[in-house]
């Protein structure tokens, strides 16, 4: 079951389209990595899911129920979130901050204590939040979101500004939450920050979803270039068809976006022309390369 789904979700400010025709599918129990460069519409999408802003078009379903004015209150009771900067009144202690959330939501003490233990902040609760490090503030924000025992946790760039240890700590926390049945939607503009944690990835560019699926799907979404090593590159030019996106780099011919059948034909042509083919391989691509290729206007 999809815990979140959207149909043709869109948001426009005047003539500027921020999110366009978004079909989001978040399966229950997964960590969903929501990726895209800054300004791609991730935060706007998350805010629409949380009813913080109203969509211009489209529909949202949470927990299998459509989000409407009537259902919104019920549905959002099951959603914890951390949007933009982590919340926290600096002049109050961590415990006092959580007590405000506890009172607002009518939570029991054990729910709050469990959330605090989950983010391992139990020894820092009597310290004023203004004296917290950024990582501690993030953890407090996550504890506030977790205290209601949500089925869905929406985290907007929770690793922003954290050092590598802090990032790893958040990753571990996300894995822990997912293993306990919480569906986590986490956004980032850096693939490397969440690709090891996310089960499903959604990539947004210019407000449009350009990819949604597993990491394996992502790698195969962009066909790697074919590299053909030749002994005599001067014989390559006349052979290659003009519609093939190819370029010669030294003794290597790089051909983009061709399938295996076309690769075989190109190699056959080069051999026939006497180019002396001695190596054929696909260029290895990291997930980061694929991500960059997709978000910089490359093919989905």
């Amino acid at each position: 079951m999809d815990i979140v789904s959207t149909q043709a979700l869109g948001k426009r400010y005047g003539s500027t389209t921020v999110v366009d025709d978004l079909h989001l599918r978040i399966p229950e129990g997964c960590v969903y990595g929501f990726l895209g460069p800054n300004g791609s519409g991730k935060s706007t999408t998350m805010k629409m899911l949380l009813s913080l802003i109203a969509p211009t078009s489209g529909r949202i379903e949470l927990f299998g129920r459509p989000m409407t004015r009537e259902t919104r209150r019920d549905l959002l009771a099951g959603v914890g979130s951390l949007i933009e900067a982590p919340p926290g009144y600096g002049h109050l202690t961590g415990a006092e901050n959580l007590r405000i959330v506890q009172r607002s939501l009518g939570l029991r003490n054990d729910q709050v204590e469990r959330a605090v233990r989950t983010v391992r902040l139990q020894d820092q609760m009597d310290k004023k939040v203004r004296h917290y490090s950024l990582g501690m503030k993030q953890r407090l924000g996550i504890a506030m979101a977790l205290a209601r025992e949500p089925r869905l946790l929406i985290l907007d760039e929770p690793t922003n500004g954290l050092d590598p240890a802090g990032i790893e700590e958040i990753r571990g926390l996300l894995r822990h939450l997912a293993s306990n049945g919480v569906t986590v939607m986490v956004s980032s503009h850096l693939l490397g920050e969440i690709d090891k944690t996310a089960d499903v990835l959604g990539i947004l560019s210019g407000g449009r979803m350009i990819f949604q699926g597993s990491r394996t799907d992502l790698t195969s979404a962009v066909t790697p270039d074919v590299l053909i090593d030749t002994v005599d590159p001067s014989r390559v030019g006349p052979v290659l068809r003009k519609d093939l996106p190819a370029r010669v780099d030294g003794h290597t011919v790089r051909v983009s976006g061709i399938d295996d059948r076309t690769t075989a034909r190109v190699v056959e042509d080069l051999v026939g022309a006497g180019a002396g083919v001695f190596g054929v391989r696909r260029d290895e691509q990291s997930l980061e390369d694929v991500f960059m290729s997709l978000t910089s206007g490359g093919r989905p």
Partner: protein, 261 residues
């Protein structure tokens, strides 16, 4: 347990008014709201006493109207900036701590949050201003004022002064909520002081134009040449201001509630 029942029953969004007020009182911890309110009261009493004693020394006699004139001048001098400080301190924590967004995710829209803040601060300001008025009244007797104390006038003035103060407080809370940079609402408080002091020299219609001007309209006593005379506060104006301000607060906070983040 079905998915629906769990999402419905695990927590409740949109807490009641009592919970909101308790939260706002809790947030006031370490903000020195009590101290600033005490400063308001001390400021009003202090300025009233200075004015009264200065007036008494030239007059040679201390009538009960003299402290009332001092009070009518001290309230507009002491209140605007302190009200701006109170509002700014209570609201700025929401800007700094991501409180508006946190409130929304717990079912408390910004306008509702502002109304709760206004409720808590209003209680403090009412106690501060009303308390100062009572202290001045008691001191009037202790200082040996002659003639009867105009109790109904004093009471009327005190209530009217509290109403005007609450309207100004509401304006300051709304400005502080709309503007991140709290120097601006504090600047408005300073300008408000100038308007409040100068308004006694304004024609009546001009004093009606800003909330700060209403303090001059409710003055219960003033100097007429060398002597002090009691005045009739413009209660109608204050009631009209209160009604207009209530409507304005409702409209402005509902607009804040609908505002996207």
């Amino acid at each position: 347990m079905t998915t629906e029942t769990r999402s419905v029953h695990s927590v409740r969004l949109e807490p009641g008014a009592a919970t909101l007020l308790r939260n706002e009182i809790a947030k006031c911890r370490h903000l020195r709201i009590g101290l600033v309110t005490a400063l308001l009261a001390v400021g009003i009493v202090g300025l009233t006493l200075v004015g009264t004693l200065a007036g008494a020394s030239t007059d040679g006699d201390l009538t009960a109207a003299l402290p009332l004139a001092g009070l009518s001048l001290a309230v507009p001098v002491a209140s605007p900036v302190i009200l701006a400080i109170l509002a700014s301190r209570a609201v700025d924590i929401e800007h700094q701590g991501g409180g508006w967004l946190l409130g929304r995710t717990t079912g408390v829209a910004p306008g509702r949050l502002c109304r709760a803040k206004l409720g808590v601060l209003a209680a403090a300001v009412a106690v501060g201003t009303g308390g100062a008025s009572v202290v001045v009244a008691l001191l009037t007797r202790a200082l040996g004022a002659t003639g009867p104390v105009p109790v109904s006038l004093w009471l009327g003035y005190t209530v009217a002064a509290i109403v005007v103060s609450l309207v100004v407080l509401a304006v300051q809370v709304l400005i502080s909520a709309r503007i991140d940079n709290q120097l601006i609402p504090l600047g408005v408080g300073i300008v408000g002081t100038v308007v409040a002091i100068a308004a006694s020299a304004f024609p009546s219609w001009a004093a009606h134009l800003t909330p700060w001007g209403y303090w001059s309209l409710i003055a219960a006593a003033d100097y007429a040449g060398e002597s002090v005379v009691t005045l009739q506060p413009s209660y109608v104006s204050v009631v009209a201001l209160a009604l207009l301000a209530t409507a304005g607060v409702v409209v402005a906070t509902r607009r804040l509630d609908r505002q996207e983040v």
